[in-house]
Amino acid sequence: INIVLVEGVRTPFLLSGTIYNDFMAHDLARAALLGLLNKTSLPKDAVDYIVYGTVIQEVKTSNVAREAALGAGISEKIPAHTVTMACISANQAITTAVGLIAAGQCDVVVAGGVETMSDMPIRHSRKMRKTMLTLNKAKTLSQRLTLLSKIRLGYLTPELPALTEFSTNETMGHSADRLTAAFGVSRREQDEFAFRSHSLAKKAQDAGLLSDVLSVNVPGKGIVSKDNGIRPSSMEQLEKLKPVFIKPHGTITPASSSFLTDGASAVLLMSEEKALAMGYKPKAYLRDFVFVSQDPKDQLLLGPSYATPEVLEKSGITLDDIDVFEFHEGQILANLKAMDSDWFAQTCMGRKSKVGVLPIEKLNLWGGSLSLGHPFGATGARLVTAAVNRLKKEGGQYALVAACAAGGQVVFDL
């Protein structure tokens, strides 16, 4: 079966703590879902299944896909589930959809992703939770008082959701800074790349190329229809910024790392047959994908380097055949250096020689995660939609999408 992408959309990606401040994750997910249905005029009863990816879960809506679907007025008879795989959660949602269609389970699936960092589940400490739960079971007043008397000031320290790898206890930014050092990526190279990302994003935004961005009405705050994290500045300004993760000698600054972002994205996938039968003109075929995993400590963000050659070999094409590259901008420079290194290919990847030089002139020409923002769960679908739209605009044939995720996994396709 050929699986096609009919359309892809996303809400504007906004800095956390700004306009989406009062939204919950399922509100954003619903906005993307409704936007997709409107844009494609797809009848609500035509959807067979809904999959969303998300990273930091709101405990009240742990199956955020289902809450979004119900809120969007999709029949309660349509099943929905939520997946999680760090920064490639939406990619995982898309490939899950591909699997459902390929297996003949469904014909029409909406896959997407959502993240809000404006609200996060901040919990009581484990000790406090334990006390509270035991308190529930306490029967007499004296039992309750004994329990309450055991509460210490330290119990009240809240637990923030960690942006650290559970297995290594290292924050992603810290790991990324070590990675850039390991590959000898200089501060200047990173500043230049950040500058490029913001400049290209600004250009694309001004030229109206970011056609996947929906207009979303935020109650009480008006309609938003633009990403608000794009800030083209100058190299001089970038040079002044201080390192954020490893101080004082690190190389990653606020500019060369993506900011905390809220946003949601969605794509409509169908079997080719169904799409044609319904009168859609598919935008692209989803050809192939791979997921890979590496050492969570030292190779956390190197997924694209490992996945790229694998997916190319699997689809029987070469790096030169690719017209459009959309890579998640999480330590992309280290990945470029890794792919261009024989030592790395031989020592770490078990390959005979290096993957090759990735043509930067084909990479992320409409901006990327550094400038557009990176709502963890939603980025994957943005990458795919951007790649598809660029293919159409630039008249190319093949696009390659890759992203790295905590745990170090990657993707894919077209």
């Binding site: 990675l179 050092a181 050492d295 280290a334 890794a338 030592w343 770490c348």
Partner: protein
Amino acid sequence: YASGTLQPGVGIEPVTFLNPKAAALIAVKDDVAVIRINNPDSKVNTLSIPMQREMAEVMNEVWANGAVKSVVLISSKPGCFIAGADINMIQACRSAEEVTALSQEGQKMFEKIEKSPIPIVAAINGSCLGGGLEFALACQYRVATKSRKTVLGTPEVMLGLLPGAGGTQRLPKMVGLPSAFDVMLTGRNIRADKAKKMGLVHQLVDPLGPGLKDSDVRTVEYLEEVAVGFAKGIVNKSIPLTKRKGIMQKLQDYAMGIPFVRQQIYKTVTKRVMNQTKGLYPAPLKIIECVKAGLEKGSEAGYLEESQNFGKLAMTPESKALVGLYQGQVACKKNRFGTPEREVKNLAILGAGLMGAGIAQVTVDKGVNVILKDTATEGLSRGQDQVYKGFNAKVKKKSITSFERDTTMSCLTGQLDYSGFERVDMVIEAVFEDLSIKHKVLKEVEAVTPPHCIFATNTSGLPIKDIAAASKRPENVIGMHYFSPVDKMQLLEIITTDKTSKDTTASAVALGLKQGKIIIVVKDGPGFYTTRCLSPMLAELLRLLQEGVEPKKLDLLTTSFGLPVGAVILADEVGIDVAAHVGKTMTKAFGSRLDGGNIEVVTTMVEKGFTGRKAGKGFYIYEKGSKSRNINPAAEEILKKFKLSAPPSVSSDSDVQYRLVSRFVNEALLCLQEGILSNPMEGDIGAVFGLGFPPFLGGPFRFVDAFGADKLVQKMKKYEEVYGNQFTACQLLQDHAKDSSKKFYK
């Protein structure tokens, strides 16, 4: 050694000045001179005389060059900055004055470093110990990697010495008096993050993963790049040399400024040292003296005190004994039987008791899959919990992550049957000490394991050849005698029979080294070496108890002789039942040489359930949560029943000590005489690390050398006249007594 001229300003690519034998190379990055230390003759950098001379030359060259604005000092050795002073250099000295001169030489050199007109940044990766740390402390700035191999410390005290190149003077100023005493008096290794907190280093650098090069190589490169950055930053004043002090720090500094407070600290620390060492170790006291001299009388007096005390200490028998132990320890961390044909990848342990679980704990985190087998679920679960607790304690101390604990534990399988034994390379049995049970498990194991599988028995007394008698493959049978608690006790005694193959021995030693053990390899015989030395001493202990010496007094006499725990407590720790069991076996083998106490005393105690610490009652009563030990009155009753009169001629405090020690030492010598031991060094290592023989005496053999064989024989003769032939000096001891030129150590 180093030669050539400097060519600064050549850019990023380092220019090195070539001399293939050079121990210190200079490269220049912009206006920063990078000095890379690389001792050509060794795997580690040590501050030997030629190294010091060369460093001085190199530094003079750097200082003479006006274009160099700052210096980075780094090592080219993987995992080692500078491991310390060259111990041979100190050993070669014949007098205290010579050693003092060495110390003063070092002091002078580091003073020049400290007063350097341009900033020097020490970039530390790997061990930075002793003289190496003193070198780094003299530099203006210190950057260290967070690598697990990076440790800082002043281990001199463990060699009976003190930091003799300015350490006692600089450390208190740098980290404050309490921390400085802690570092110097314990000699412990300090990891980088702790060092930063203490103020020992200014900045930390993370180790890198593999990138375009090997991670170790790149990490050192990165360290150098970062250090060069800091060096430039210090010159252009963007990096301050002094840290802003927190309120606690300010308070502490204020308190330390009050002479009365300082006096109190000296007093407290001295008291604590006296408590722990019983005054038997001179080095800690000298360290306190040096620090005191520096702070109270000024640095000139302090440095003088330091160098003179360093010289004096180097000549003490305590230091010589400790250095000997250190060298023995290094020797016992090598496999003299070569690389085994097969690496042990899958290990099975029979019996999940204290021993079995302890062996599992020290093995499972070394990349070896471990099966822990017991016969009952309760025992198995207790054993698995013991292993878990061991690793969880490390998580709490933050030396490993909870994730590392979990992955490590995933290599441990607990089971009740023999499934999976077809893949096992070695089996260590730690079941009950009974020959028929040992035979039973040996046969069961051989029925299910592959032909190459080694059968190691962790017995403390049964002869290995008796156990091997039931084996189809006696060449694969070996003894591995661990000491309890296995995760704390460093010694492993490996016992070979006439039939044990060399490859089996090599394999057992290789596994023991992996487990981090110090290993002695001895010949088979009842009690091997360690148990055999201990048994006559315990027999004498029993005799003394019967003669009415109070347990508390015996403990006091033995600890003041230098044992780490009192002999009676030791008996309780070992287990009265074990002592009784071993005592019987040993008496059967050695007859009257084990005379002394009446074995009935211990068998009666066992009958009443007073089996020692594990039962809560032995000679003492052990209560959970209570640190004070009370005498077990019921045990006292038993002793009264077996009371003997104490002959006054051999019952003074000193006699009590020497009656115990002489029997131990004589038996040790006998083991060498009979060929159980292959050399005195292993005997000393075994006695100190396995049985707690006083380290400052260096072990039984070094003790005989230092005390005088003739004097010991005299004492033994006196006891022999009263008690009989258990005090008869062995031939080897008599030979040494007759010819005073005969020594175990030259």
